[in-house]
Amino acid sequence: MPPLLQVAGISKRFGGLVAVRDLSLEMARGEVLGLIGPNGAGKTTAFNLLSGFLTPDRGEVRFDGHPLAGLKPHAICGLGLARTFQIVRPFPHLSVLDNVRVGALGRRPQMAEAREKARAVIDRVGLGAKTDHAAAGLTLADRKRLELARALATEPTLLLLDEVMAGLNPTETAAIVGLIQRINEDGVSILLIEHNMRAVMTLSHRIAVLNFGEKIVEGPPAAVANHPRVIEAYLGEEYVHAPAC
């Protein structure tokens, strides 16, 4: 069986800026891979390249053995690779239920069946009490849950989560961490962009660090956190040899 996700040397250039340079990644089934890096490191661009919203200039992405070259986002989603957006984009005038149902309809074309699936997913992410609320009126924390619920409703095998914890308070963050863990325990692999270090260290089996579009380090969370190149990327060179305070 091929690895779930194989990224082989993808690059993306916007004019003079190389947003992602020669990025290679591999993910096993059931794995949680954290993708971290300072702002502007190319994490979201990498997500867009994987999910079909951008086309790599070079390199290849294979999902479950399928090459993704030339596939539109909806087709990639159909293969089982779903994503959330960093800046959440709910359908504002639709209810939570109708929002999530759009995701469910892909695999369950009957409206009633899709509605059942949507309800189950909504309960799962803890939005059950707000099923009939309009998405526009939700708090940020609930919108993040909604974003997650919609992606889950497409029944993915790999879920790309782009900063689902940004802007949440510690209690909300802890709840989402628990939720993501449970989703992973059900067999969904997760690729996670996250700035919240505690969350990403808790969740990830492995972590890859991007800086200026390049992967600089990859490994288990503890090793990555103390790696000199990571400290350099985040804090600057002078902190690499500074005594711990």
Binding site: H74, C77, F85, R89
Partner: protein, 315 residues
């Protein structure tokens, strides 16, 4: 709600027995524009792709069935389907260009207007269809040729068209197709991320919409018996098509009907009164004012506002 609709239908079926021919004509236009508005509603209201060139489809449908009837004796009952199909072909071309190359908002509006204008200019310069003089159908009163002595037959045909289109829209709304169109209107990229082939569904909406509008062209041709390129392909007709669903509530099943019941009589009354006073064209001012009022006070249209009132009254 169901009972209300059933009662309204019975009233509409019985009305011609008591109305004079002029009022019947007013109703015919209410139904006909509600039908066109309903057809536009699929792509413009539900999918949120603002076509401002739907007159092109009316014109193609009208010219097709008229020419086939006059030149080849083909019954417009079949000609209306041929006209619908040709309109759907044009709809496919416009949709493909617009959706494949990602024209959104105003750019899509411009594209659709441009195609309608091209159609108008082609018709204007094609002598085989009468050019600038227009194309005329001689009235024979032959039912097989979609010509009726009795105005009330047109009433029932127009009512039937409106009900069929409304049934189609209601069916779309209840299915995945409709749910996807609404989601596309809300946020296209989010739809793609959720596995929705937005291109395919926008194309489907455009094709169904242009087909239905093309079918309406036949009614136009065989009710008025004369086709003028400026009237049948012109921007004013496109505006007439759009404005009813917008006033009534775009993206709702009842919106185009409600909008037509508000606007068509208003157009008729203001045309008569302003026309007699030597103020021909002033009805457009009334339209403009009404549109401003709707955008300001009922941005979702009259039907959603009415529903809210209804819900409040029921409580």
């Amino acid at each position: 709600m169901k009972w209300l609709a059933a009662a309204a239908l019975v009233v509409l079926l019985l009305l011609p027995a008591v109305l004079n021919s002029y009022v019947v004509t007013v109703f015919i236009f209410i139904f006909f524009y509600a039908f066109l508005g309903q057809a536009w509603n699929i792509v413009g209201g539900y999918a949120g792709q603002l076509s401002a060139g739907h007159a092109a489809f009316v014109g193609i449908g009208a010219y097709t069935s008229a020419v086939l009837s006059v030149q080849a004796g083909l019954t417009p009952w079949i000609g209306m389907l041929v006209g619908g199909l040709l309109s759907a072909v044009l709809g496919t071309v416009v949709g493909y260009l617009g959706f494949r190359f990602g024209l959104r908002g105003f750019y899509f509006v411009l594209l659709t207007v441009a195609f309608a204008e091209v159609c108008r200019i082609v018709a204007l310069n094609t002598d085989a269809v009468g050019g600038a003089l227009g194309y005329y159908i001689t009235f024979t009163g032959n039912t097989w040729q979609f010509q009726f002595q009795d105005n009330r037959v047109y009433y029932y045909v127009a009512l039937g068209l409106m009900l069929i289109a409304t049934g189609i829209v209601a069916a779309i709304e209840r299915r995945r197709f409709g749910a996807y169109l609404i989601a596309i209107r809300e946020d296209e990229s989010a739809c793609e991320a959720l596995g929705v082939n937005t291109f395919r569904y926008k194309m489907l909406a455009m094709i169904v919409s242009s087909f239905l509008t093309g079918v309406g062209g036949t009614f136009y041709a065989f009710y008025l018996f004369s086709l003028q390129p400026g009237a049948v392909f012109g921007i004013p007709l496109s505006v007439e098509i759009i404005i009813r669903p917008i006033v009534g509530g775009a993206g709702t099943v009842m919106g185009p009907i409600l909008g037509s019941f508000i606007l068509s009589p208003l157009a008729e009354v203001s045309r008569i009164y302003f026309g007699q006073g030597g103020w021909a064209g002033a009805h457009l001012i009334a339209y403009g004012l009404l549109l401003i009022a709707v955008v300001l006070f009922l941005p979702q249209g009259a039907y959603p506002a009415l529903r809210r009132l209804w819900a409040r009254a029921a409580r």
